[in-house]
Structures are given as C-alpha cells and as structure tokens.
Amino acid sequence: MTTLSNHVPDPRLITAFAERRDGPLHQVNPWTKVGIIGALVLAVTVFDRLALLAGLYGTVLIVYGLAELPYRRLVGWYTLPMLFIVSVAGPLAFFEPGTPIGGALSTPLGNISVTWAGLVLFFELSCRSLTVVTFALTASMTTKYTDVAYMLGRLLPRPIDQVALLTYRFTFVMLETLEDLVKAALSRGANFSEFWSNKRLYARILGMTMLSAIEQSERLVKSMEARGYDGDIVLYGDVSRPPIHELFVVAGSYVAVVGYALIAVYEVGL
C-alpha cells in the first residue's frame, strides 16, 4: 500500500503547528531562529568531540520539547536523515582505521570489522545531522506562514524569490492534488503495492500532478497579469528586527562557536 509518506514531514502539518499552537518558541522573532540555525550549522561543522556534539544535540532536543512539539512525529521524520547518515557513515564505520570491535568478518576482499573510531564517527555524524534537522523542524513548526513568506521575499534575489513564494503557496495545493489523484485511483481499484507492474499507473498519476501544476500556472499567469503583475508579488506582512535580548543570544552563540573553533580546534594563540 502506497500513500503519502508519514516519514517525510507534511508541510500542511508543519504549517498547522506554526499557525495553531502558541508555545514559547512561537513568540521568538523569526530572524532570531534563522540566526540560531546559522550558528548551529557552524557549530556542528567545527565541533570535533562526540561529547560536545551529543550535548548540543541534547540541548536542541530539549528546546524542541519546550516548544511543545511532538517527539513521536520527530522519530518518524528522522527516517530520511538517518538513511543519509547510514549511507555515508555506514561504510565508513567499516573502513575507518582503528581498533576492531569484536571479531573481524572474513570476506573475499579480506577481513572487515567495525572499528571504535568508525563507531565514534558514525555517532558524530548522526549528532551533527540530527541537531540541525531537529532545530530546522522546530523553527519551521513555530514560524507563521506570513513570516516565512516575508523572509523568503527578503532573503532571496529576484526572480528566485518570486519562484520560492509561488512554490510555498502552491505546495499545499499540489499536495492535495496528488492526494486526490491517489485516492481516485485507489477507489477505482488501483494497486500501488508493487512498482514494476504498476509503473504506468505511477507515471500517469505523477504526470497528471505535473500537468495539473502546469495548467494551474497558466491560469495563475492570466490572473496575475490581469492584476498588473510586474515581477513583484506584493507582501503585506512584516517581520520586525529581533529584540535586544534575542540579538544577544544570537551574537553570544556565534562568539561561543567561533571562540571554541579558534582556541580548541584551530589552536590559534591569544
């Protein structure tokens, strides 16, 4: 049985959390969240100790909980990030030089075994990836639609901002279109459980989704041009500058990460 996946975050659910919940992080300025994401990306890139990375990940998990967001959903949404980690770090755990854990497995290519260094690397990469994944989801689930649209319009150059704004608006429509097409096919007795024998059905559904998107874009063009579209979608929202205490938090995060990198990682003398 194939439906829309529950291990890929549904943008409608993410937006519903942002619009209908009112947790502590909903009150935080969206620019502050963007700043913190940047600091976290820098931190997981330069931090070089598993304990530090695990501590950072634990902190972000606590923040996720404080934002009153569901841990159970988060576990499901970890499926794809973990797949990426396993696909890169999995083979490395065997190849990484170091002391083998337990016995070695004999293969035609020689003996292979997971090493302690390989295992540590696997956990490090997991913490690095999941820290930012968790905070990105936290930020997405606590930032309102109009604020996200405003920031897209401010951060991206034209015409990318126009494309991004239309994408954001129509993602919800396209999801419903795809869902309707899947439901309609199921109600007519379609079977999605095996790909190869149903490849034409898949092609038709995905093709109709694309076709529907294109035809919606053509209708949209007519309505946009009729309303005098001149290459700029007008945004009526506004996201104010972060309050001073949030600016201090963001600046402090960067100072801490850069300071650690300079002193502990790159060993710059003071």
């Binding site: 890139t45 076709l211 035809e215 990198a261």
Partner: protein, 226 residues
C-alpha cells in the same frame, strides 16, 4: 533516492565554504542570464508551481527496494529548461532543508548536484529528440544520464571534501563512496524509466510542454481532475 542529500556537518568548514561559493556562482550566473534575457510571467509561474509539484511528489513513497522518494529533477529540467531548472533545484533544496531533509549548510553542494541533473537531462533530451528518438526512450535515457551525472558529482564532492572527523585516506573513501554512487545509479534507472513514461504521457496530452510543438499553438487546457 535518486540523489542523496548530504547530511549536515558531513564536510569540514573549508569544503562547506567552497561548495557554497561554487553553488552561489552557479545561481548568480543563472540569475544574471535570466535577468538579461528577460523572464516572462508564465516562466516564473511554471517554475514556482513546478517546484511545488516536485516537492509534493517527493511525499509519495515508491515501493522499490523498501521505498524510495523522487523529486523528478530530470523531468523538471526537461519541462522548465536549464536555467529555470537550476532555480527550481535551489528552491526545492531550500524548502527541503527547512523540513529537515537535506542540509542547510550544504544547500550550495546539493543545488550543484540537482542543477546538474536538470541541465544534463534537458540537453540530452533535446539532443535525442533531435536525433528522431521516440519520446519514451529519449526521456528515460536523458533522465538516467542526468541523474548519473548527479550521482558522480555527488561522489566527487564527498571524495574531494573528505568526511568531517574521518581519518580515512582519499583512496579508501573513494571505495566507500563508490557503493553509494552505485546504489544511486540503480535508482537513477528506476527514476529514468518513470520519467520516460511521464514524458510520454505529457507528450500525448500536451506535446508543447516537452518542446514537441510550439507553445503558442496550444491554447486550451486539458482540464485535469482527479
């Protein structure tokens, strides 16, 4: 996955900066050419809603090898063209990163990979159609070729960058990443066949969409519904 999104923190800082700069250079070139050539409203709308469809299609679980997800980057390239295809790749990567799929810091690297898939698929499709190939084999081959190029680029990016915290020599890393690239090539064939069938379907109802007839000759919408 037809293209692996590299995890956050996988690369050392210099590589993060390098791929971000190269990705920015690519997108800056695309934006410059789009602005210089002038972009029409229908192209913006097509790219925006095409990206939304690509993003939505990713939510569908395809039951191959336990379940795979596709963005149909090759199809987007064939329909939207190389310039808008690259912009769509960036936008889809930005939205994917916001939902925890992909990496915020590696948007530059991921955009390079996905844009290369769209660009190669577009030019390969045009070339094959120009050589009088049928729509299905042309779409399937062009997409498989585009995704294969993306897979090799992804592997090259990992090998050049090295993995953060790993002491593995580049030669051994190449062997480790080769398995990943091989898996991607398998998925590229699946997505290539699916895209070929989709292009065949689109060509049967709207041949102008895949460049088989002039866009201006196609006025009436087909009225697709569930």
């Amino acid at each position: 996955m037809p293209h692996i999104h590299l995890g956050e923190g996988s690369f050392p800082l210099w590589a993060l900066v390098l791929w971000t700069l190269i990705g920015t250079a690519l997108i800056s070139t695309v934006v410059y050419r789009v602005r210089k050539g002038g972009i029409k409203t229908h192209q913006i709308a097509l790219a925006g809603i095409g990206a939304a469809a690509s993003f939505a299609i990713f939510q569908l679980n395809i039951p191959v090898w336990g379940g795979i997800h596709m963005n149909l980057t090759g199809l987007v390239g064939i329909i939207a063209g190389p310039l808008l295809g690259a912009i769509v790749a960036l936008v889809v990567n930005v939205f994917s990163a916001a939902l925890g799929h992909g990496a915020v810091g590696l948007i530059g690297a991921n955009t390079l990979i996905n844009a290369s898939e769209a660009i190669v698929a577009y030019y390969a499709f045009k070339t094959l159609i120009g050589m009088d190939w049928d729509v299905f084999p042309a779409g399937a081959s062009a997409t498989t070729l585009g995704l294969s190029v993306g897979s090799f680029l992804m592997a090259a990016i990992i090998v050049i960058s090295g993995v953060n915290g790993s002491a593995l020599p580049r030669g051994d890393l190449t062997i480790a990443v080769a398995g990943l690239a091989g898996l991607n090539l398998g998925v590229a064939v699946v997505e290539g066949i699916l895209t070929g069938l989709i292009v065949q379907f689109l060509a049967s109802v709207r041949p102008d969409l895949v460049g088989l007839t002039d866009r201006d000759t196609q006025e009436e919408a087909t009225g697709v519904t569930a």
